[in-house]
């Protein structure tokens, strides 16, 4: 891209204003294959979400069906496929926020998810560093055991987890119990992902630091962790999401409504006979806002070129 830009500059000379140049590059972007792919993918992603949004803002509990469009022309029939509420209303959001202590539950979820992220990252960074940088008896077996833990279906872990966390550790009805379980659940992915990323970091810097007398711990904190920021961002997001959407354990461990997390609160809207999908959709949108904010905060670590200058491969 940079190369093309410089060619461009030389061709057009100093006559072109920066604005014109920017417009030209935007136009070139817009007519590229890459752009077409991204637009198409975004449309596929957005369309089902549009149903959720229109349900949330419709003020009703069940979605309007597609109307009878036999008499309309082709465009009318196509337009009928786009889900839009008949009238826009914030009623569902108002009900979700006032009927139950939703904000409190959201806050609880933030605490639990943040705790999970911190504990998960501490445990997985250290373990992954050892797996990446040391060769010791039991290493391969250890890595494999981390994988095995993901292979047993979660539904059958409910009762034993209840026994351990509530009866043995006495951590029922407390966030710590949930945080521990979530952090450990997220651990295998985090360890494998971070180990893979640490593997790509060159060893030369550590070697010279070791020669200069730095301790392993210093190297880990000062060199490895800063270089691994993209992977830490990804695993952090993953740990956060593990805790953020979990519902069954959260509602089984907690015996106090004030301690519920937000997925538990959302599930109140779904029951055997009738479900308030409008509330559920509105709540879902509210629940996704913190995730989006977190992603926005983390995405600068996922932008290319960050690590390029730091290390020469």
């Amino acid at each position: 891209m940079r190369q093309i830009l410089t060619q461009n500059q030389s061709a057009a000379g100093a006559l072109e204003s920066p604005r014109w140049r920017r417009l030209k590059s935007v136009l070139r972007d817009v007519f590229s294959w890459r752009f077409a792919l991204l637009v198409f993918a975004s449309l596929v992603v957005i369309y089902p979400l549009l149903w959720v949004v229109s349900l949330a803002f419709s003020g009703q509990q069940s979605l309007q069906l597609v109307q009878d469009t036999r008499d309309l022309g082709l465009w009318g029939q196509l337009a009928a496929l786009v889900p839009l509420p008949e009238q826009w209303s914030l009623q569902n959001f108002r009900a979700v926020l006032t009927e139950q202590p939703f904000m409190r539950w959201l806050l609880n979820s933030v605490v639990v998810a943040a705790g999970t992220t911190v504990i998960g990252l501490v445990l997985s960074c250290t373990a992954a560093y050892a797996f990446s940088r040391f060769r010791f008896p039991g290493r391969n077996r250890g890595l494999m055991l981390f994988l095995v833990s993901q292979m047993f279906p979660a539904v059958l872990m409910l009762i034993p987890l209840y026994v351990i966390v509530v009866q043995w550790l006495g951590l029922g009805n407390s966030w710590l119990g949930l945080i521990l379980v979530y952090a450990i659940t997220a651990l295998p992915f985090c360890v494998w992902m971070l180990k893979g990323y640490f593997d790509t970091l060159p060893f030369e810097i550590e070697e010279s630091a070791l020669l200069e007398g730095a301790s392993r711990l210093t190297i880990f904190y000062r060199i490895i962790l800063p270089l691994a920021r993209p992977a830490i961002a990804v695993t952090g997001l993953f740990s956060f999401m593990t805790a953020w959407n979990e519902f069954i354990l959260a509602s089984i461990f907690m015996d106090d409504e004030a301690l519920y997390t937000v997925p538990v609160g959302l599930r109140f809207f779904v029951s055997d006979y009738s479900s308030e999908w409008g509330y559920f959709a509105a709540g879902s949108i509210l629940v996704s806002v913190p995730v989006i904010l977190l992603f926005l905060a983390l995405q600068r670590f996922l932008v290319s070129g960050l690590s390029a200058g730091a290390v020469k491969g």
Partner: protein, 753 residues
């Protein structure tokens, strides 16, 4: 590091003891699943009660419907949980057999209290002669009709169907009658009209009785000949059609009333008479107040039960909460007596039949639903299908009963088992002792590495490997819902579960032209699981790689694209999966609408194995791409840009750059992501369960949903555990192979050796 570990452990222990001391309290704990107006009415009643009886106040906890049964079955058998809880009555049979979930209450209550309820509601709460709890409210279906289309309620079934026929215009999406007719709860009305329901008069399973066959034939007639019913109904669709005036009559319950559009002029009437038979007699679900057998405050609990079922309380629950109270005296209140809707449900109760509380009933719901779906789609004949169902359920019931009989006999451990364990323990101890020097030396030499791993390993051992061991142990028993509390020795079975899973070679049933694949077979499910996993992982990793590469370099609007493309990960997938299911609805789904706009024929998505598989595949790929994309984006950051610049100078094409720079350098990140996504997809429960639900007839179930059905729909916990261990073994073999092939165990460049 060690200090950090020690402080963490200290914190854990401190919090643990703190919790333990706070346990004992003088409150009476009540769990319920109400929300909205029902909940407010209950809570205001409880507030009054607490003012009257400050000595033992009640604390209520609302639990979402989706986790209520799990929460009860996790807590109660371990002596934890509430003193009282409110739940539907249909699980009483199973619960009373376990002996740990509910306690008999008759001795705690005066005859005056017991005399408040009609006989059929008390019967509902009674199992094998014992009264387990008091009826609080009841919920049954009735006929709700749009008065603009149906001026007066039909008196007979043929009236109803005749009227429905006039009002149906399938081309325009209008229907005379709509209800969730494939759900057994709704079909009960027909079964009870023709006969005695799933059980005969003496309480034995009789699914293939004359009456049940006729009820299915009648439904088949309505759906296939009269064609007055919409396809693939569910409660949301029914409400929707009614609100738009596109369904003239619906069969539904009081739960629907709050959602009816105010512009619809509706009325409620009892279900019509079947000529020459009884009226359609819907099933009624009784919400009962149950007493925990562990409660130490039984007298206070009985006092609360008395209070909540008294006439003033019942009136308030009906008027403020819109409930139908089981204390029928409340209906004499002028405000209820003057309410035609409440009175219609009240008079429906006279013909309604409580859902049988026989333990076998809980095994029936899902298989009967599958049968109903097959019959209305013309894929099965009522008589033959019910006979097959009868044989299948009878087998499941026999398995449960056999397990229970076995566990009632005292048993000793087989002599060789403790001996083996002892020998194994000795061998381990000897090996440790003999190699103690090596082990100590190993520890000293690699101490740094072990200390780094120790915290994570401890957590894994405690919270993952212990539960896994529990699952393994369970899989060698014949534990079911009914004998859960029996001592382990008398439940011990050995390898039988595994033999019966792996030795299940009934790949087909029927013979000749009738021969069809047995979708319950393990090897079919395994085949589907492998197809499911392979197609999902290949497609989603491929597309995610493509999108990540497209996003990795600057482009106009990059931030926005990146944000949009992670949205499916951010929104709770429960609702998006259901939106996808709705989009695939054969009659009202937007995908078929679009196909028709462009002149294609609509597709019955959930009727054949391939199309049903496709619905799950699309949904899961849509859901899993964002995560994969983020992982790959993170991995791309480790590739130094200088390499590309050097390649460009040498004139390498984009494809060559991708092949020789991007892919190899991405591998350390991609390999674990692929392995884990195979493992997760193999065990992806939600999407299958929510979207296709195994349709048609369980053909699209994967191993994990099958294990769930065995465990939680058939209550054969041990068999489900064995299934899960088989899943684990398969995945373990895969992971061994994959890590070897891809070299995932390699250390970073220049690791300490």
């Amino acid at each position: 590091m060690a200090r950090l570990l020690a402080s963490l452990l200290g914190l854990l222990l401190a919090l643990g003891t703190l919790q333990a001391t706070a346990q004992e309290s003088r409150e009476l704990l009540l769990w319920h699943g109400y929300r909205g107006a029902e909940r407010q009415a209950l809570e205001s009643l409880l507030a009054d009660y607490n003012r009257l009886h400050p000595d033992v106040p009640v604390r209520a906890l609302a639990v979402p419907f989706g986790s209520f049964p799990d929460k009860l079955s996790a807590a109660l058998p371990r002596g934890q949980g509430p003193d009282l809880f409110i739940f539907a009555h249909d699980r009483i049979g199973g619960w009373s057999k376990t002996g740990q979930m509910i306690a008999p209450v008759a001795s705690l209550l005066s005859p005056e209290v017991l005399g408040r309820f009609p006989a059929n509601l008390l019967d509902a709460m009674t199992y094998e002669g014992q009264l387990y709890g008091l009826p609080l409210n009841f919920k049954s279906t009735a006929l709700i009709y749009n008065r603009a289309l149906v001026p007066a309620p039909p008196a007979t079934v043929s009236d109803m169907i005749g009227r429905a026929r006039q009002l149906t215009d399938r081309e325009r999406g209008r229907f005379g009658l709509a209800y969730s007719y494939t759900e057994p709860f709704f079909h009960g009305a027909l079964m009870n009209a023709f006969g005695t329901g799933p059980f005969n008069a003496s309480g034995e399973l009789a699914l293939d009785s004359e009456g049940n066959i006729r009820s299915l034939a009648l439904l088949e007639d309505w759906a296939r000949n009269e064609r007055v019913l919409p396809e693939e109904p569910n409660s949301t669709l029914v409400t929707n059609l009614f609100n738009q005036g596109r369904a003239a009559m619906v069969i539904s319950g009081p739960w629907m009333l709050g959602e009816i559009d105010p512009s619809i002029d509706y009325a409620v009437a009892p279900l019509p008479q079947l000529v020459g038979e009884r009226p359609l007699s819907p099933w009624v679900a009784v919400e009962g107040l149950f007493l925990s057998p562990w409660s130490k405050k039984q007298q206070s609990a009985a006092r609360l039960m008395d209070f909540l079922t008294s006439v003033p309380s019942a009136e308030r629950m009906a008027i403020e909460g819109g409930q139908l109270p089981a204390n029928l005296a409340a209906f004499d209140n002028p405000r209820l007596a003057g309410d035609p809707v409440a009175m219609a449900f009240r008079s429906q109760l006279d013909t309604a039949v409580p859902i049988p509380n026989h333990p076998a009933m809980t095994l029936l719901w899902k298989p009967l639903e599958t049968v109903l779906q097959k019959v209305v789609k013309g894929a099965a004949q009522p008589a033959a299908e019910l006979q097959r169902l009868q044989a299948q359920i009878a087998k499941d019931v026999a398995a449960l009963e056999e397990a229970q009989r076995r566990s009632e006999q005292p048993a000793d451990w087989p002599v060789w088992l403790p001996l083996m364990l002892l020998l194994a323990g000795l061998a381990v101890a000897m090996a440790l002792w003999r190699h103690r020097r090596n082990i100590a030396a190993g520890w000293r030499q690699h101490r740094t590495a072990y200390v780094y791993i120790l915290p994570a390993a401890l957590g894994m051992v405690l919270l993952v490997f212990f539960p896994l061991l529990y699952g393994l142990l369970l899989s060698f028993t014949d534990t079911t819902l009914l004998n859960e509390s029996a001592p382990l020795a008398s439940r011990w079975l050995g390898l039988d579960n595994y033999l019966s899973i792996l030795g299940d070679w009934n790949l087909f049933y029927g013979a000749g032209d009738q021969r069809s694949i047995n979708y319950d077979n393990f090897y079919w499910t395994l085949f589907m699981t492998i197809c499911w996993t392979a197609s999902n992982v290949v497609i989603s990793v491929g597309l995610a790689l493509l999108l990540a590469l497209a996003l990795n370099k600057p482009i106009f609007g990059r931030t926005w694209f990146r944000l949009i493309l992670i949205l499916p990960w951010a929104i709770p997938n429960y609702i998006t999966a259901l939106v996808w299911k709705g989009m695939f609805h054969p009659q009202f789904g937007v995908i078929n609408q679009a196909l028709q706009v462009f002149g294609f024929a609509p597709v019955a998505w959930f009727d054949s194995v391939g199309t049903s598989f496709f619905t799950g595949l699309v949904t899961n790929v849509w859901l899993s791409i964002p995560f994969m994309m983020v992982v790959i984006l993170g991995g791309l950051q480790s590739i130094p840009r200088e390499l590309y610049e050097a390649a460009k100078v040498e004139g390498a094409s984009r494809w060559t750059q991708f092949r020789s720079i991007t892919l190899p350098l991405l591998r350390p990140v991609l390999v674990p992501a692929v392995i884990l996504s195979v493992v997760w997809t193999f065990n992806m429960f939600n999407v299958i369960y929510l979207v296709s639900d195994g349709a048609p007839a369980g053909a699209n179930d994967i191993l994990i949903t099958k294990a769930f059905r065995i465990g939680f729909e058939k209550y054969q916990y041990a068999y489900a555990a064995a299934y899960s261990i088989v899943v684990l073994a398969l995945l373990f073999v895969y992971a061994l192979w994959q890590t070897r092939v891809s070299g995932a165990f390699e250390t970073g460049r220049g690791a300490v050796r």
